[in-house]
């Protein structure tokens, strides 16, 4: 670290902490080992602070502020455990869980749901899933009036358009991570964007073009950053559908991609001697978690063995 880099001191939950200038409140929380829920935040992407699950109370601020994006400043007084903070975090978790299928969203989320006492079912039973294309046809500024008997969800059929990956938007929390990874934060392909507005906003290609006809180059970096399993390897999707997906039985092997000389590190997820998924470490100096189509999907040759035709 540069010796001349300045640091700032702030107080979080009564404890003083020093962080480098430019660090965020979230960095300060992590330094103090305060468990801070995040969903739209990733270390390898620009914060969009859209999910609001990381909000904290900042003295002098009328509203709560997102820890992931607000820069730490000298003398800040931050509370992460106040009733106000707990209320907003609980409500955000409830609102998401009542409208999105979070069953593939990982253990941390389940822990936060329990920690904050989220009861998503209090908004009523889930409304039936949308028919294919129904959500895509919603026009901005118009919606059918609900009768209140059910809670609207983003439920809809999965988009299975190729052999590489599946877009299962009933699991999408609209965290913008895939859009960022496809765009300026990693791939610069811009195949997908947020379309529509409000609760009907969604991730889309232009005019809902199927992925193979879109600008998508199948780098799979969107899968790499998706926090809820809305974007998934086809292999994982098929295993899950068949009930054979079992992370207990999987091993992860770190290796170097053999396709070119860049030196991307790969993590091969293997179940029953079959590669079922490929990731890259988020903290790897070359990839920052991102890969290209070859590293991500070009593993079939490994399995071209005489005993497995």
């Amino acid at each position: 670290m540069n010796e001349t880099q300045r640091s700032v001191a702030l107080t979080v939950d009564g404890r003083t902490v020093q962080v480098a200038e430019g660090a965020t409140i979230l960095d300060a929380c992590r330094q103090l080992e305060i468990d801070t829920p995040t969903m739209c935040f990733a270390d390898n992407l620009t914060p969009v602070n859209a999910c609001r699950v990381c909000v904290v109370e900042l003295e002098g601020s009328r509203t709560l502020v997102p820890a992931c994006a607000r820069a730490a400043a000298e003398g800040m007084q931050v509370r992460t455990d106040s009733e106000r903070v707990r209320h907003s975090r609980r409500l955000v978790l409830e609102l998401l869980a009542s409208s999105v299928d979070l069953s593939c969203a990982g253990e941390a989320l389940q822990r936060w749901q329990a920690d904050y006492g989220a009861e998503p079912e209090r908004f009523g039973p889930s409304a039936p899933a949308a028919a294919p294309g129904e959500r895509e046809r919603q026009h901005a500024g118009h919606h059918a009036m609900p009768d209140g008997s059910t809670a609207a969800t983003v439920g809809q059929p999965a988009k299975v358009e190729d052999d590489l990956y599946v877009r299962d938007y009933k699991r999408c929390i609209l965290c913008y991570k895939c859009v960022e990874a496809c765009g300026e934060d990693a791939q610069n392909t811009f195949a997908i964007a947020v379309a529509g507005r409000g609760f009907d906003a969604r991730i889309a290609t232009e005019y809902e073009q199927p992925l193979p006809d879109s600008a998508c180059v199948y780098c799979g970096n969107c899968i790499g950053v998706c926090p809820t399993g809305a974007l998934m390897f086809k292999s994982e999707y098929d295993h899950r559908a068949a009930g054979t997906w079992d992370e207990e039985r999987q091993s992860v092997t770190r290796t170097v991609c053999s396709y070119c000389g860049v030196g991307c590190n790969l993590e091969l997820h293997v179940q029953d001697e079959e590669i079922v998924k490929v990731t890259s470490p988020e903290d790897h100096s070359v990839t920052h978690g991102h890969l290209c189509i070859k590293g991500r999907f070009g593993f079939q040759f490994v399995q071209n063995r005489p005993d497995k035709p």
Binding site: V48, N49, A50, C51, R52, V53, V55, T63, L64, P66, A69, R84, H87, S88, L91, V92, L95, L96, S98, S99, F123, A130, A131, G133, E134, R137, Q138, H139, A140, G141, H142, H143, A144, M145, P146, D147, G148, S149, T150, A151, A152, I173, L174, F190, A191, I192, A193, V194, A195, G196, R197, G198, F199, D200, A201, T205, E206, Y207, S214, A215
Partner: protein, 667 residues
């Protein structure tokens, strides 16, 4: 990045519409030239075209919304080939252009009938027969094109007319079939169109024809206008102003009260289409005086005036302008926020329609004071007459040297670009407005950084509401101290209020701060239907007040102390006997429709609020009040912007006042 473009070529009409917009807007944009196109569209070799670099793309991205407007205006919808052509010309990825096009309610990415009536069914028009109008249109034109689900259609109470099964999607499918059957007209419901003083209001969106409004509208007038053969606009920008100036500003009709007007003094007197008439009525004097004072002198007067923003947030204007004037980064921008969309608000529309040169002169003073050579005026897409008047005024101002190089020979450059919104309340939020102007989705940005530091195009920007800006004219002319002598200590000067609903003479009223609610209502000829049960202050984002507050002095500090706010100046009385469940339900629907969808508390919270309110209305559950309070708190605390922060405000105030109680009447 290379663009992945489709091979389908645009039609000649689509290409012409885009080219015309890019030629006219592109030329006047200082330094923002178009990149070379990547070959003729439709040529397979251009399917992956590299058009300029990132910087070249960002320089012209701000032309995206005007280009989308151009196609929508000419053809009535934006086809995949048209969008593809726009993407190619501007170097914008098609997925992003689609994301922008689908953000706005006045743009359509599916084929629809080319002549559409947008019928306001918002809170002011509801009290003036809007639902009956919808019922009549349903009988004559068929079900609303989109948005009308079964529950909603039942409101129209149109006897003998079935409402199609299914939700909005089904409606759109049905309408799509109608297009194939050469159906050329349709209607949709709309949020507030800002014509509340002449409710019920209708906006006509006519492909190939200029937009128009009807207020007050009848089913006959709507059907006639929709079926009239496509006609060229009448000569000049003048079109019948609906409603007339003296209807919108009743004070101007009476010589005694007209003489006391400051902000509205030219309404009904000076010709809004004549710069020379504007000058005869005192126009351009403030700009000369401002230049004589110099930027520091203007800032001093502004400080002395203690002017606070009139858009709703009441931020001290001097602090904003000083910050921009002193900012090191260049260039600076001034932006006029004319995206007035708060339900019940129409003051800015009346000012722009009746005194457009005043807005331009004030913006020029802003440019001079803050060191900005370019001003943007962002007007909501539902204001066709105000848009034409401003366009015309900008043209004349350029011809006469009031805009352009060396303004009026005073030694500074300043020009104004007019941009239209496309149906999105959220774009009135200043940072969402910047994103919209820059050609992105109108999603608010996280603050800090504030606009004075990093605003439009990331540069220091002074963004002000229309009414705030025109206050600059009396401040500069008469001095800040004299200005501050009117009103109260903490709320200085004159204020415009938008009166509609249960009042005898709805309209825009100019009074000094401190006038009580009751005095203001008396000015408007009193309420209709006896003593009101409640008055909505500040629009959908504001709150209801009960009779205990009818003598409340209308100032920032008094309303704050009373737990309410002036907001955008809406004063909408509701008579006893009003169905407040219906009113609050429309407000909840409004926020559900207008949430941009970026943050979870607002995106899902507004949906859950509407659902809970439905249950409360049908009395099917008891826990709804607690649920609504929980939602109000998370939206207020954790949303990104003011839309989410205030989305529960009116509903919560209605609950506090007992307006939604079953026996709420007479409590």
């Amino acid at each position: 990045m290379d663009l992945h473009l489709a091979a389908a070529p645009p039609t000649g009409a689509e290409r012409a519409a885009v080219d015309a917009v890019l030629a006219s807007v592109g030329e006047s944009s200082a330094g923002n030239t178009l990149p070379a196109t990547g070959g003729a569209s439709g040529d397979a070799s251009a399917a992956r075209a590299s058009v300029g670099g990132t910087r070249a793309r960002h320089r012209v991205r701000h032309l995206l919304l005007p280009a989308l407007h151009g196609v929508q205006d000419a053809l009535g919808w934006i086809s995949p080939a048209a969008l593809n052509y726009i993407s190619e010309r501007l170097g914008v990825p098609p997925a992003e252009a689609y994301g922008v096009a689908t953000f706005y309610s006045l743009l359509s990415t599916t084929e629809q009938p080319p002549r559409v009536a947008h019928v306001c069914d918002d809170i002011a028009c509801r009290g003036a027969g809007a639902l009956q109008l919808c019922g009549q249109l349903e009988q004559r034109l068929g079900p609303a094109h989109h948005g009308g689900g079964p529950a909603k259609a039942a409101h129209y109470d149109a006897p003998g007319h079935g409402t199609g099964a299914g939700g909005a999607g089904a409606d759109r499918q049905a309408a799509g079939a109608a297009v194939a059957g050469a159906e050329r007209t349709t209607w949709v419901t709309s949020p507030c169109l800002g014509l509340c003083e002449a409710a019920p209001a209708v906006l006509l969106q006519l492909a190939g024809d200029p937009g128009a409004t009807l207020a007050p509208a009848t089913a006959d007038a709507v059907c006639t206008a929709l079926h009239r053969p496509a006609a060229r606009p009448a000569a000049g920008p003048a079109s019948a102003a609906t409603p007339p100036a003296l209807h919108s500003v009743p004070q101007a009709a009476d010589p005694a009260s007209a003489a006391r007007l400051t902000l509205l003094r030219r309404v009904g007197r000076a010709d809004p289409e004549s710069l020379s008439d504007y000058r005869r009525h005192g126009g351009c004097a403030a700009l000369r005086r401002a230049v004589a004072l110099g930027p520091d002198g203007v800032l001093r007067e502004l400080r002395d005036s203690r002017l606070q923003g009139r858009g709703g947030a009441a931020f001290p204007t001097a602090a904003k302008w000083e910050a921009v004037a002193g900012a090191a980064a260049r260039p600076h921008y001034v932006v006029c926020n004319a995206d007035e969309s708060e339900p019940g608000t129409f003051k800015d529309r009346v000012v722009m329609e009746q005194d457009p040169f005043a807005v331009i002169e004030a913006l020029a003073i802003g440019g001079f004071t803050t060191g900005a050579a370019t001003g943007y005026l962002y007007i909501r897409g539902e204001y066709p007459l105000a848009t034409r008047r401003l366009q015309h005024a900008i043209g004349q101002a350029r011809d006469w040297g009031l805009l352009g190089r060396d303004v009026m020979g005073l030694g500074f450059d300043f020009d104004v670009e007019l941009r239209r919104g496309a149906g999105a309340y959220i774009c009135g939020e200043e940072t969402a407005l910047f994103n919209s102007l820059e050609g992105f989705r109108g999603e608010p940005r996280s603050k800090p950084p504030y606009p004075t530091e990093a605003g439009l195009f990331g540069k220091p920007t002074a963004v002000n509401n229309v009414e705030t800006l025109i206050n600059l004219l009396p401040i500069v002319l008469g001095g800040g101290r004299a200005y501050a002598a009117a009103g109260t200590d903490q709320s200085t000067g004159p204020k415009l209020f938008c009166l509609s609903g249960a009042v005898a003479r709805p309209g825009v009223y100019e009074v000094t701060f401190g006038t009580t609610l009751r005095e203001l209502l008396a000015l408007a000829g009193g309420t209709t239907g006896g003593e009101p049960r409640a008055i909505l202050l500040g629009g959908a984002a504001g709150s209801f007040v009960g009779p205990e507050h009818f003598d409340l002095p209308l100032t920032f500090e008094d309303t704050r102390a009373a737990g309410t706010a002036l907001g955008s100046g809406v004063v909408m009385p509701f008579a006893s006997g009003t169905d407040f469940v219906d009113v609050t339900r429309r407000i909840a629907q409004f926020f559900r429709d207008e949430s941009c969808g970026q943050c979870v508390p607002c995106r899902v919270g507004t949906v859950r609020q509407e659902e809970a309110l439905q249950r409360l209305a049908t009395g099917s559950a008891g826990a709804e009040r607690g649920l609504l309070a929980d939602l109000a708190q998370v939206m207020g605390d954790a949303s990104i912007c003011g839309l989410g922060h205030t989305a529960a405000s009116a509903l919560q105030s209605a609950l506090r006042l007992g307006l939604l109680d079953r026996n709420g009447e007479g409590q």
